[in-house]
């Protein structure tokens, strides 16, 4: 972020105070600054965002007062409470008067400029007015002109990581996302393919060293998870860029009622013999309700897994409670824990000559349960959308099954790394 410059914040009767000329930054677009006039009927908080997605000013508006923001010529978006209320094109020396956005409804204290920050130079002033200020030029909404970016940018990022950022005029960010996503995906693939599929096949073969195998699988878990997070994150970021929701423009939805979460927790587990380690992934859903400020409780670790070798199925679900002890800007930190139960029903193994007897063997069941403590680090990419990393330590009270005959024994302390995404409503 560049240097922000406040020329004046004044309170005066009648017509808007003249804006001071902006300095010569962005000289290519604004030899002479333009003005955006907010009010006098508008109320609430408003954010002015440049075409490049940079927040030019945070402004608090009060009825009966006008606020004038001097800006270089260019395209700007005015948002309030996370919603776009207008888009304007400000020409050099032009004044755009925005008439009372209806969403700015709550009565607020006297007008003030909360923050003014941008690489784009701007000036702000406010005044009291009993009548609408005559506009010197026409207000013009260009929402339609940029609507296509809201759709195209995330779609393009989904196909080509970083592509959406290029569309929203942030090529450097796009290149970084592309390099990061592709690099980590290739790294994860390299680690996965470096495993020897024949390990354990030959009698007496010691296979790869334990440390080597554990590091390989741990690295795969971390890299593949990070690649997935970056992939999803850059799609959301592309949308954010298209609607001007980037950086400090993102306001986490603290007062959400419910959050839906999708996560993959994974660990490197011991195997009974060669190979001596295996990856134990657990994909699950959670529905978390905010029952009190900072406190969430909900159904978690919901999943259904197959046991193909035994023709069975595993159903899992649990209860989780978290307390959010830190929330600054886009970062939330929470701690808590949960209890998970799981039930498996699968065909009993029997010894028989006739394959039909094996296929028609009766089912057997297995009940499992484990508890865990977790530390949730959550970063909001959009107002409602967040990505999270959750290290957690769990203790299985019985054998814990991951499906496909992958199991952690009872009482085996397990350190897991969960990564995922959440949407808050």
């Amino acid at each position: 972020m560049g240097l922000w410059w406040v020329v004046a914040v004044t309170t005066a009767p009648s017509s808007p105070a003249p804006a001071e000329p902006a300095p010569a930054a962005s000289a290519d677009r604004a030899e002479q600054p333009g003005k955006i006039v907010l009010g006098p009927a508008a109320r609430g908080r408003a954010v002015i965002v440049s075409e490049a997605g940079e927040v030019v000013a945070h402004v608090t508006l009060v009825p009966g007062r006008t606020t004038t923001v001097g800006v270089p010529a260019g395209h700007y978006r005015i948002e309030s409470e996370g919603r776009r209320v207008a888009e304007v094109e400000v020409g050099a020396g032009e004044t755009i008067d925005l008439a009372r956005p209806p969403v700015l409804a709550a009565p607020l204290p006297p007008p003030r400029v909360d923050s003014v920050s941008s690489s784009v130079s701007s000036s702000v002033s406010s005044s009291v007015s009993s009548s609408p200020v005559p506009a010197t030029t026409r207000p013009r909404s260009l929402a339609k002109a940029n609507n296509w970016k809201r759709v195209v940018a995330p779609l393009l990022s989904a196909v080509l990581p970083g592509g959406g950022q290029v569309v929203t005029a942030r090529p450097g960010r796009g290149m970084a996302f592309f390099a990061g996503t592709v690099g980590m995906t290739l790294g994860a693939a390299r680690l996965w393919l470096s495993g020897d599929p024949t390990e354990g096949a030959t009698r007496g073969d010691e296979g790869a060293s334990q440390a080597q195998e554990a590091v390989r699988l741990g690295g795969f878990i971390a890299l593949s998870g990070a690649a997935a997070l970056m992939y999803v994150g850059q799609i959301l970021d592309a949308y954010g860029g298209a609607v001007g929701k980037v950086g400090d423009g993102v306001v986490p939805h603290k007062n959400h009622v419910v959050a839906f979460e999708l996560q993959r927790s994974a660990t490197v587990g011991l195997a009974p013999s060669q190979p001596q380690y295996g990856q134990l992934p657990d994909y699950s859903l959670a529905v978390m309700g905010q029952v009190a400020p900072r406190v969430t409780v909900g159904a978690s670790d919901l999943s259904i897994k197959r046991e193909p070798d035994r023709g069975g199925v595993l159903v899992q679900g649990g209860l989780r409670s978290m307390y959010r002890f830190y929330a600054r800007r886009r970062l939330w930190l929470s701690a808590g824990g949960g209890l998970v139960v799981q039930g498996t029903s699968a065909r009993r193994q029997v010894a028989a000559v006739d394959p039909a007897d094996i296929a028609n063997a009766p089912d057997e069941g297995h009940f499992g349960a484990f508890g865990y403590a977790a530390f949730d680090t959550r970063i909001f990419v959009l107002d409602r959308w967040a990505l999270f990393v959750v290290p957690r330590v769990s203790l299985p009270f019985t054998a814990r099954r991951f499906g496909r005959d992958r199991t952690v024994p009872a009482l085996a302390t397990t350190f897991e790394l969960a990564l995922g995404g959440a949407v808050h409503f």
Partner: protein, 273 residues
């Protein structure tokens, strides 16, 4: 310093992903009566499998008893060392019989599925029984079984000596080495195939998706060759000498013995013994 070390250790542990547990083992041996049994079907989980066929000696019944004998070890995991040991003792290897057919397989309760692993030792049985082997990950070696042999395995090299009444091998990932006097059908998706025919010429079908094929023939008098390979094809038998690539087809004599060799990535060598 100590505090910093503790904090670093806790931080490393908290972001690592691992399971803390214990290992256990339980050894076992078994002898199953095979009198009256003509065919033995062996289905085992991931483990190397070695089968040794013995030949009966007229005056010495002890030399080759009518038994299927083996030993092995169950390896296991547990949250405690005692639990690991008890888990290792739970699974079983069972043989059931029905008429002239016997089936050997494992029974692992669902409660410990994924917590135990079998390492089977060498199995011995009379060499005149037909044998079918089905495995997961593990090399398979069958030596001295003179009747029909079938081997199907997911991952692992397969080596067969014998199978004079016929041989079928299918492995997804592994090399195949065969010395046989019988007809043979050998397939691998990823690996080379090396076959040496013993006695007279027999039908031979070999297919690999990625590997070389080497065949040694004792007789090429009435052989029909059908060979396809992107690499070099070399034929050096008493009646044929050729070097080519792509494909090779030739019928010698009556052509009553089919030699069909196909590799999707590799070369083929056929030679006389």
């Amino acid at each position: 310093m100590r505090r910093a070390t503790s904090v670093a250790a806790c931080a490393a542990l908290s972001i690592s992903a691992c399971v803390l547990g214990f290992r256990g083992k339980a050894a076992f041996t078994a002898d199953h009566d095979l009198s009256g049994v003509e065919e033995v079907e062996i289905t085992l989980p991931d483990t190397p499998i070695d089968i040794l066929g013995c030949t009966a000696v007229e005056d010495d019944p002890e030399a080759c008893p009518e038994l299927l004998s083996y030993r092995g070890v169950w390896s296991s995991l547990g949250g405690t060392s005692n639990k690991a040991e008890s888990n290792a003792a739970e699974p079983t290897v069972q043989l059931v019989r029905e008429g002239g057919l016997a089936a050997l397989s494992t029974v692992v309760p669902l409660s410990i599925a994924g917590l135990v692993d079998l390492e089977m030792g060498t199995m011995t049985m009379p060499g005149d029984r037909d044998v079918q082997v089905y495995g997961g990950v593990g090399d398979v070696s069958v030596d001295g079984m003179l009747s029909t042999v079938t081997v199907v395995v997911d991952v692992g090299d397969v080596e067969v000596r014998g199978a004079n009444d016929g041989l079928a091998v299918n492995t997804e990932h592994g090399n195949i080495l065969v010395f046989t006097g019988g007809h043979a059908d050998l397939r691998t998706q990823w690996g080379s195939v090396d076959v040496e025919q013993l006695g007279g010429a027999r039908d031979l079908f070999v297919e690999t998706e990625n590997g070389d094929i080497t065949v040694t023939l004792t007789d090429d008098a009435d052989v029909s060759f059908t060979i396809r390979a992107p690499g070099t094809i070399r034929i050096d038998t008493p009646q044929v000498t050729a070097v080519t690539d792509g494909s090779f087809e030739r019928t010698l004599g009556t052509g009553s013995v089919s030699i069909e060799l196909t590799t999707d990535a590799g070369g083929v060598v056929v030679r006389g013994s």
